[in-house]
Symmetry: C2
Subunit: 152 residues, 2 copies
């Protein structure tokens, strides 16, 4: 499979090169819409993690998103200061409390999420589920193999 391996490698570099522009444009899009709720990109990321995983601790979130613990901490504190999340006692660790969405936080992230979802629905158009599944598989693979580069 050395030839097909090379072809695959070539295509993979293309994928790689698409991620940068995509990330920047997406971020710009997010922060273009976000002012409505007043969420920074970082806060949005925290709220979104809590939305899908339920309450979790700061270090957990950092690992999950490949972000430094300290950065997540700041964003979390920021979100807490705005009343979007609250600290609830963690049965497993007294010191490290669980972070949970408040009503306001839930509302804010839901609004953002729905807006983004509407946009994606338009884009989705003629893409098939199979294609997207393949895409997910490829990206996950890339991600997991870059994991060894860890932070904090």
């Amino acid at each position: 499979m050395s030839e097909s391996g090379d072809a695959v490698t070539d295509r993979l570099t293309e994928v790689f090169d698409l991620v940068g522009p995509l990330y920047r444009r997406a971020q710009r899009k997010v922060e273009l819409d976000a002012p409505i709720e007043g969420l920074s990109v970082g806060v949005r990321a925290v709220l979104n993690m809590l939305r899908e995983h339920g309450p979790m601790t700061v270090p957990q979130m950092g690992r999950d998103q490949a972000l430094s613990r300290q950065f997540v901490q700041r964003m979390t504190n920021d979100a807490a200061a705005r009343g979007l999340v609250e600290f609830v006692p963690n049965p497993a660790h007294r010191r490290s409390s669980l972070i949970r969405l408040t009503e306001a936080g839930q509302a804010a992230i839901t609004a953002v999420f729905d807006r983004e979802r509407a946009m994606l629905r338009q884009i989705g158009g003629d893409l098939t589920e199979a294609e997207i599944a393949a895409c997910l598989r490829v990206l996950s693979r890339l991600l997991s193999h870059l994991d060894d580069v860890d932070v904090d």
Copy 2:
């Protein structure tokens, strides 16, 4: 296709959410290796564009990578100061010269590229060309639909 449309949308948000971590980890990886050649992420991006598209102008590169003209300009000047690129007269615009890789620039970006390629080859493993093609299609689609958010 309203149900499948929704499912597609759901999966698309997953794709969306993978891009962030991927970008960060990739960037960390790049700047972990880059010191060898002394390239910043921005300079690397410029050299890479020149490597695949051949000589081009600064504004062209900015549009291509969804980066502001000014940022690309700075990176280009930086690269020129290090002797990695040179300005050649542009037949089409007297003022806006074409940027071209020098020998040194060619060597540097090739070294980086080969190193990254070797890494991707390992990762590629059991991914099929079809999967990667699908992935490319999905990402391109996302990218092109975010294009309306322009900069500068």
